[in-house]
Symmetry: C2
Subunit: 613 residues, 2 copies
């Protein structure tokens, strides 16, 4: 099989539909909302390097550089879609500040210049290299959008310093960074500039990881930042889920660039470990707030699920890379699962507020449990916020959704691959592709392709799809339907049947035992208290009822009406009784999971009990 | 209705059966095992008052006096059953030490004499009055057993000091103690000595509680120690469950002594709040380890259930008192529930080891969840220990089981009441009662009564019993069958039908939604992994199967064999699938809940899913 490359996001235009609306919201609302919150909290001001102890200037945090870098990257993607003088001027101002305050040796980090200069490159978990990585990604995006390479040139000096300190002098307080990111950023930069030193530095950080214990504290062990084993020996996803998937993404990039079979074997095993044992049905990963981390296989509690929005983004990034190496629909399936569920849940419908954590169940009654004591078990927040103290997710969602077109198509010399379904036009070398679809409102997808005669067209059969129609019998290779493009104006209509489908979790998942979840196509559904009353855990859903599918403008996705039962009013019922409580038939409303918590604070659940037949 | 009084435990002889075996174990093993552990940990040595900073002597804790006091009380009950020179000599030695080290003003507290003398009566949560209360209970028990009143006389001087400091001079750092106990102890002493000052001091502590905020710390609020409202206004059980039920027990005693209708109304409401909204089916109370406390109504998680053994004892004490005021079977039902379940689970089958916490579910897989991080969610221990740092439960179980006969019978001038069923003989004034039964192996109870002609015999119909036979039609008053004793040699045979019964929790109990629990008579059952394999949550139980009831010598109670289903081996099954996993029929073994965790570390659950019909 040929070597596939993603079709760059700049070559794909979303022409309408669900995601066009989301991108309009990102472009009109989110980019400015995040900017304003970052301005109010002092993150922009930090680039003036004028904090001193006792001053009124907010004290910079050691990850603030990365927050602004992700905002710059987001703005660059929007610039590439359409000129915007305001955004471009702000990016240029930030680059001015970077140039102004970069150290003579190339170093650039706000916190470790103004707050803790004595600890430059001494504290493994202080995110200096993570911040550099995000600045590199911003620099690449801005260069791609505008052709301006000033930021990349400034960072090149910093990278030279890093090479000297870490690889030559080995004078830093640690060997590999506590939070991965620089590795994938360097590989991305390498693909733009093809300077071998970037690849070498990335490989250095990958190769050294897990060879020694370093940077341990009382709250983190070596698994926390994937340092428990050399990366090629890792087979199970461990520790902080965002760090893990940023690392795995870099490992996949490196495997692609170098053909390193051991790295690739590790990537395959890690991916399979996540999606077969450690992922919520929403695509959420990192089930525990302790270390924002993966735990053990099948440990997927719903109410305490951590599921950082950034972790869903990171898994989508990892899957997106893997699909270029192993063309297997299981990878693009995960990207799609994250798009419609794990990632999108992180953003409010109005585009202004964010979840850092994305639980699969909310029971508000639990919030008042510990009235007798000041402390309580930790539960995720129930309403999105516009900014967080650790505000990595907002600009991460922004940059991800602003550039999601880059996941839609891949190409090789003799083939074009359609991974995701949305209305778009794309130019792929001499070939022009047009996709028309209402997906995921229904499963009909019309593809027109010109200038591609003699190539193969490969179209993903979504993993959720059990029945589909296509015009001609076709071969299916690893989840992709393969068609020979036999004319210069080739067209194809596929229809993926999209009934409501009830899912059962693996029997080892305690939290979901005896329960079902409901999906329609790629969209996971949930119940909310605002529609269904309190005590959602008391509801059962009749799996055999005839559902109503009702379009809903606010969610942009259908709302589903089913039937079920709940206990009749039992306020005075005894605590324990030997007669089963009497139940009554009720309607049950499901909304898309990604739209939960947009109508006030209310109970929510993804998993529910089926009505006994 | 007459005023009922419990028939003192000394007038009741258990003549065989399940509880005779348990008492033999207490007498032969537990009393000495607890003593030896307390000796090894320095609790006896502490009575030498020779700890100094830097010495090898273990530093006393401020509740150690109470640990030894409960051991003395236990030993006194055993002395009353049969002479034992060794135990009596040890009690006398302890009283010698108390006499030797009691302060000239009457004060006696080891910790606040040798460690923090400057904080005598300054720190509300430092248990000085709690320790005094337990010493009083020990003094009463020893006096009843031996007629020796030396300890009571020593304590009388201490009580005079307390009256002076708290009621006259009001010079203490707090008004009411942080941990209730002194109140019920003073009322108990008042019943023996009838000195009004004891009643007055108890009423002072009851009346002053909740009138002001005091003793608050960053981890405890006023609810924690029932100081959020004056006691007569309290209607919901709040805070630390042991403290709460010791308080409510004293309130019931005080209501009985004084006829205070407001106190009694509070007691009734508090009891009903607990048993209708805040009690596990095992009788466990205090669902949260935060503050060892009650939480909100219907918040009864199974795996994190705290359910301190002492709290079950305290609820049994409260219920035992209430049954004398309001002769209603609902009170003795709770005593019975605690006997066979909540309390007994706290003691190992060999009589040597104890649970402080008694969860209703153990999933060992959860113990390894947080491998990535050093900290994890707190879960109860899974194997009993011989001693704890805070070792209140071991001597509490010991004293409770050593004197449980005191709960079996009550009497008034014209009536004798049978609350609990076990083989025994009792002398009640001129009347002699004999009970023969294999209860709870079966529900047949034979009662013979002589010397009671003209009285009424009242026999509790257990709350769990839906069908019973008795020789003549009888009136039932508030759960008690009432018979006229019409001959001098009256006999009666009742048979409480004891089928396996499945219970459903109130629909507001999230943790038990869609689940059942199994009881046979008063005994709650559970499944263990050692019998049923791992993943008990995957098992379903066929409620319509024909069960096998098999006697088991080690538990002293039957083991039950039912049928159910579980998932076929699904190691490689996908994480989420739209086909329900295939299930296979399996036998399911239930053991008495009180016997869990006696065969090594293994999974356990009380609540299970019924097989769909």
């Amino acid at each position: 099989m040929d070597h596939f490359q993603p079709v760059d996001f700049s070559a794909v235009d979303i022409t309408g539909g669900f995601w066009a609306e989301k991108q309009k919201c990102i472009c009109d609302v989110t980019i400015f909302s995040v900017r304003d919150q970052f301005a109010q909290t002092g993150r922009f001001r930090a680039f003036d390097f004028d904090w001193t102890e006792g001053s009124d200037v907010p004290r910079p945090h050691y990850f603030w550089d990365s927050d602004i870098a992700k905002w710059m990257e987001s703005a660059a993607y929007l610039l590439q879609k359409a000129p915007n003088d305001e955004l471009q001027a702000q990016i240029e101002t930030l680059i001015d500040r970077i140039a102004q305050h970069q150290d003579s040796d190339g170093y650039f980090n706000i916190y470790h210049t103004v707050v803790e200069p004595e600890n430059r490159f001494r504290i493994r978990d202080h995110h200096e290299l993570y911040c550099l990585g995000h600045l590199i990604e911003a620099g690449v995006a801005y260069y791609n959008a505008t052709g301006r390479d000033r930021l990349l040139n400034l960072l090149d000096r910093y990278i030279d310093l890093v090479i000297r300190v870490f690889c030559v002098e080995k004078s830093a307080g640690f060997t590999t960074p506590g939070h991965e990111e620089i590795e994938l950023a360097l590989l991305r930069l390498y693909r733009v500039r093809r300077d071998r030193k970037y690849l070498d530095l990335a490989m250095f950080f990958l190769n050294e990881r897990g060879k020694r214990e370093e940077g341990l504290t009382d709250w983190c062990n070596t698994r926390y930042n994937q340092s428990h084993l050399p990366v090629r020996q890792q087979r199970t996803a461990e520790g902080h889920a965002v760090r893990a998937c940023y690392l795995y993404s870099a490992m996949a990039d490196a495997a692609m660039e170098t053909g390193d079979a051991e790295l690739l074997a590790a990537c395959r095993a890690l991916f399979d470990d996540i999606v077969s044992k450690k992922m919520y049905i929403t695509g959420g990963i990192g089930s525990s707030h302790h270390g924002e981390a993966f735990t053990t296989a099948y440990d997927l509690p719903n109410d305490t699920a951590y599921n950082e929005t950034c972790a869903s983004i990171a898994l989508a990034m990892f899957a997106d890379r893997m699909k270029e190496i192993d063309l297997d629909a299981k990878y693009a399936d995960i990207v799609e699962r994250e798009w419609y569920n794990g990632i999108l849940a992180g953003l409010s419908l109005d585009g202004k507020a964010f979840f850092y954590e994305n639980p699969l169940e909310i029971r508000l009654a639990d919030r008042t449990r510990h009235r007798s004591m000041s402390s309580g078990d930790r539960l995720p927040i129930t309403q999105r916020l516009e900014v967080f103290g650790c505000s990595c997710c907002p600009p991460n969602v922004t940059r991800f959704l602003a550039s999601m077109e880059g996941s839609v198509l891949s190409a090789a010399d003799d083939a074009i691959v359609v991974h995701q379904f949305l209305p778009c036009k794309a130019q792929i070398g001499d070939a022009a592709l047009q996709m028309e679809t209402r997906y995921p409102l229904d499963g009909k997808v019309c593809l027109s392709l010109s200038g591609a005669k003699g190539k193969r067209l490969m179209v993903r059969i979504p993993g959720w799809c059990r029945q589909y129609t296509c015009p001609t019998p076709c071969e299916v290779q690893r989840g992709y339907a393969v068609f020979d493009v036999d004319s210069d104006r080739f067209s194809l209509e596929m229809d993926f049947s999209m009934p409501l489908t009830f899912y059962y979790a693996h029997p080892a998942v305690c939290a979901d035992a005896g329960k079902c979840a409901l999906m329609r196509g790629p969209v996971v559904y949930c119940m909310e208290g605002v529609d269904n009353g309190e005590r959602l855990f008391d509801l059962t859903v009749d799996l055999t009822c005839t559902p109503q599918v009702r379009d809903d403008a606010s969610f942009g996705l259908p709302v589903l009406e089913l039937r079920g039962t709940r206990t009749r009013d039992a306020a005075d019922a005894p605590l324990y009784a030997c007669d089963a409580p009497e139940r009554t038939a009720v309607p049950v409303t499901f909304i898309p999971y990604c739209g939960f918590a947009n109508r006030g604070e209310t109970d929510m659940t993804v998993w529910f009990r089926p009505t006994a037949e």
